[in-house]
C-alpha cells in the first residue's frame, strides 16, 4: 500500500489527472444546471488531453527537427533518438482539442436554444415547464 502511494507521489501529473477527471465527472453527473454540466464535460475531456500530453513528455529532449550541422551532415553525425520527443502525442492532442471544441460548440448551441425556449438552464425547472 505504502509503496503504491509513494509511486503515485512520484508522478504528480497522474494525480492531477485523476483529480481533474473525477472533479469533472462529479459536476457532470450531479449538477442540475446544464451549463455547469457542460463545464464538467469540458473538464473531463481536458483531463484526458492533459494525460495524453504528460505521457508523451520526455526529460531533456527536444523537438524532432534537425538543425544546423545535423540537418546537412546527418550522414556523419550519429542521431540519437533519445534526444528527441515523439511528436505524435502532441498531434493527437491537437486533434482531440479540435473534437472537444466542436462538441462544445454543438452543446452550447443546443443549450442556448433550450434557454430561449424555456427561459431556464436548470434541468428540473425545464422539465417542470415542459409538463
Amino acid at each position: 500500500m505504502i509503496e503504491h502511494i509513494e509511486a503515485a507521489l512520484h508522478r504528480p501529473n497522474f494525480i492531477a489527472f485523476v483529480v481533474l477527471f473525477l472533479w469533472g465527472f462529479f459536476i457532470m453527473i450531479t449538477h442540475p444546471n446544464l451549463v455547469k454540466k457542460l463545464i464538467g464535460m469540458y473538464l473531463v475531456q481536458t483531463s484526458i488531453i492533459f494525460l495524453l500530453v504528460t505521457v508523451g513528455a520526455k526529460k531533456e529532449a527536444t523537438v524532432p527537427i534537425l538543425q544546423g550541422s545535423d540537418a546537412t551532415g546527418s550522414a556523419t553525425h550519429q542521431i540519437d533518438p533519445a534526444d528527441y520527443t515523439n511528436p505524435l502525442p502532441q498531434v493527437l492532442t491537437l486533434t482531440a482539442i479540435v473534437v472537444q471544441v466542436a462538441t462544445l460548440g454543438v452543446s452550447l448551441a443546443l443549450v442556448t436554444a433550450i434557454y430561449q425556449k424555456y427561459g431556464s438552464l436548470d434541468e428540473d425547472e425545464i422539465l417542470k415547464r415542459i409538463e
Binding site: 457532470m28 473531463v44 495524453l52 505521457v55 473534437v99 425556449k117 434541468e123
Partner: protein, 499 residues
C-alpha cells in the same frame, strides 16, 4: 484508381455535405436530389469495392503514402484504413440502408423546417461519412475521431424538432461525449503501453509480448474502451440516452439512428476485440468473452422486458433495439465460428429490422397521428400494406423462419449449445418470448380492437414511404433466403480472425 476506392467512398458523402450549404441555400429543391445522388453513388462504389475485395483479397490504404513498404501489414507510421471482407460487407449494408433512410426521410420532414432543410441534409451526409470512416478505420485514434464526427451530427439531428427534443439531445450529447472520453482514455493507455495506435501493429505486439495482456495499462485501457463503446452501442446498464433520443428524434432521423449508430459502435468493438485483443483475451483473470456473454444475456432479457412495459411505440422499439444488441453480443461471446457468423448476420439483419420498424412507427405518426400502442388500432383501416410489412418485421424480430431474424438467432443458439453455454441459450429464448409478447400487444390492438378514431388516413401514403418500407421488408426476407452463403462467408471471416 481502384486502390483509392475506400477514400472515394468516404469522400462522396463528405464532399457533398460540404457543397450542400453552398448550393442548397440558393436552390432549396436541389438538396434532396443531391443527397440522394451522393448516397446512390456511394452504394455503387461500395458494391464495386465489395466485389474487388472478394476477387483480390483485403487491401490496406495508407494515408499520404505514409508506409515504408507496401507489404502487409503496412508499417504503423501513418493513418491506415483496412479494407477487408468484414469492412466491405458492412459498408455495403451501411450505404444501402443510408440510401433507403434518405428516400424515406424527405416527405416526413416537418414543413416548419423551411430553409433549415439544407442543414438536415448536410448533417445526415456527415453522419453517413462518419459511420463509413468508423467501418474502415484501422487505427484506434481514427475510430475516435469518426465516432465523434458521426455523434456530433447525430446530436444536432436529434435536436431538430426543438422543444423537448432539445433537452433529450443535450442528454444524449453529455452521455455520448462521456463515452467518447472514456474511449479516448482507453486509447491513451494503449498508446502509453505500446507506443502505437495501429490495430494490426497492436495485435502483432500482443502476440509478440504476451506479458502486455496482463499489464495494468492494457487492462485499464481495454476496460475504458469497452465502457466508452458500451455507451455508444447502448449496452444495457449504459443505455440511458437511447430511448429518449430515438423517441424524440424527428421521424425522418430515428430509423437511421436506430439502424446504424449502435450497430457501427458494436462493429468497432468487435474489431478491437477480435483483431487487437484476440479471442482468448483475459482481463485481470476474467475471460473477456465470458464477461461479454453475461452482459449480453442481461441486456437481451432486460431490454425486451422494458420494451414490454412501454406505451409509446417508438420507445418500445427503442428498447427492443437494446435487447438485440444483447443478442448480438451473446453470439460474439461464444468464441466459435458459428457464433461469430450468426452474430454478424444478425447485426446486419438487425440494422434493416430496426430501420424498417422505425419507418413504420414514423409512418403511423405521419398518417394517423398514432404514437401509442392503443392508437395503433387506427392503422388497420387505412394501411393494409403497412400492416403487412409490420407482420414481416415482427416475424423477423421474433425469429420465425423465412426471415433473416430466425437464421441469425438459430446460429447464435447453435453456437451456444456447441460451447455448452446453456445460460446464453436460455437468455436468447427468454428474449424471444418477451419479443413475441410485446408484438402480441401490438397485434391485439391492431386486429381485435375496434378503431376508435376515423380509420381513413389523414394523408395519402407517400410513394417514398411505401418504397422504403417495401425495400426493408424485402431485404429481410432476401437475407433470410440467402442466409446460407452469407453465414458461410462470415465463417470464413471468423476463421481469418483466428476463431
Amino acid at each position: 484508381m481502384t486502390n483509392h476506392l475506400p477514400v472515394i467512398i468516404f469522400l462522396i458523402p463528405f464532399l457533398t455535405a460540404i457543397c450542400m450549404p453552398m448550393v442548397g441555400l440558393k436552390k432549396r429543391h436541389w438538396c434532396r436530389p443531391m443527397a440522394l445522388a451522393a448516397v446512390f453513388a456511394m452504394c455503387v462504389a461500395a458494391l464495386v469495392n465489395f466485389s474487388l475485395v472478394l476477387d483480390h483479397g483485403e487491401s490496406r490504404y495508407a494515408f499520404g503514402g505514409w508506409s515504408i513498404s507496401t507489404s502487409l501489414p503496412a508499417a504503423p507510421l501513418g493513418i491506415e484504413w483496412v479494407n477487408d471482407r468484414l469492412a466491405s460487407t458492412m459498408l455495403v449494408a451501411l450505404s444501402f440502408l443510408a440510401s433507403v433512410c434518405l428516400i424515406y426521410g424527405g416527405p416526413l420532414l416537418p414543413q416548419s423546417l423551411g430553409k433549415q432543410v439544407v442543414h438536415y441534409y448536410t448533417l445526415i451526409l456527415l453522419l453517413i461519412s462518419g459511420l463509413s470512416g468508423i467501418v474502415f478505420a484501422g487505427d484506434l485514434f481514427n475510430v475516435f475521431v469518426f465516432l465523434e464526427v458521426a455523434a456530433l451530427s447525430a446530436y444536432a439531428l436529434v435536436g431538430i424538432p426543438g422543444g423537448r427534443a432539445l433537452l433529450v439531445a443535450v442528454r444524449y450529447l453529455i452521455l455520448g461525449t462521456l463515452g467518447a472520453s472514456f474511449y479516448l482514455l482507453g486509447v491513451v493507455f494503449f498508446y502509453a503501453a505500446t507506443g502505437t495506435l495501429n490495430m494490426a501493429d497492436l495485435a502483432q505486439q500482443m502476440t509478440d509480448k504476451p506479458e502486455l495482456m496482463t499489464s495494468k495499462a492494457i487492462i485499464a485501457g481495454s476496460t475504458f474502451m469497452f465502457i466508452g463503446l458500451g455507451i455508444k452501442m447502448a449496452l444495457f446498464p449504459l443505455h440511458g440516452w437511447l430511448p429518449g433520443a430515438y423517441t424524440r428524434a424527428p421521424d425522418a432521423i430515428s430509423p437511421m439512428l436506430a439502424g446504424l449508430m449502435t450497430k457501427i459502435a458494436l462493429y468497432s468493438w468487435v474489431r478491437i476485440m477480435f483483431w487487437v485483443l484476440g479471442a482468448g483475451a483475459e482481463i485481470g483473470h476474467v475471460h473477456l468473452l465470458t464477461l461479454l456473454g453475461i452482459l449480453g444475456a442481461v441486456a437481451a432479457v432486460v431490454g425486451a422486458l422494458l420494451a414490454l412495459s412501454q406505451q409509446d411505440v417508438k420507445r418500445m422499439f427503442a428498447y427492443g433495439g437494446i435487447s438485440h444488441i444483447g443478442l448480438i453480443l451473446i453470439g460474439f461471446s461464444q468464441g466459435n465460428q458459428t457464433g461469430f457468423a450468426g452474430a454478424m448476420f444478425y447485426l446486419i439483419n438487425d440494422a434493416f429490422m430496426q430501420a424498417g420498424i422505425f419507418f413504420i412507427a414514423g409512418a403511423a405518426i405521419y398518417q394517423h397521428g398514432a404514437r401509442t400502442v392503443d392508437e395503433l388500432a387506427s392503422l388497420r383501416g387505412g394501411s393494409p400494406w403497412m400492416i403487412g410489412a409490420l407482420i414481416i418485421l415482427a416475424m423477423s424480430m421474433i425469429g420465425i423462419p423465412p426471415t433473416g431474424g430466425f437464421f441469425g438467432k438459430w446460429q447464435i443458439i447453435l453456437s451456444a449449445i456447441e460451447e455448452g453455454n446453456y445460460l446464453a441459450v436460455g437468455a436468447v429464448v427468454v428474449a424471444t418470448l418477451l419479443t413475441m409478447a410485446y408484438f402480441q400487444r401490438l397485434f391485439v390492438r391492431i386486429f381485435r380492437d375496434r378503431p376508435t378514431s376515423a380509420s381513413a388516413p389523414r394523408v395519402e401514403t407517400h410513394l417514398s414511404i411505401r418504397v422504403s418500407v417495401a425495400v426493408t421488408s424485402a431485404a429481410i426476407i432476401v437475407l433470410g433466403l440467402c442466409s446460407d452463403p452469407i453465414i458461410k462467408f462470415f465463417r470464413d471471416v471468423a476463421a481469418s480472425a483466428g476463431l
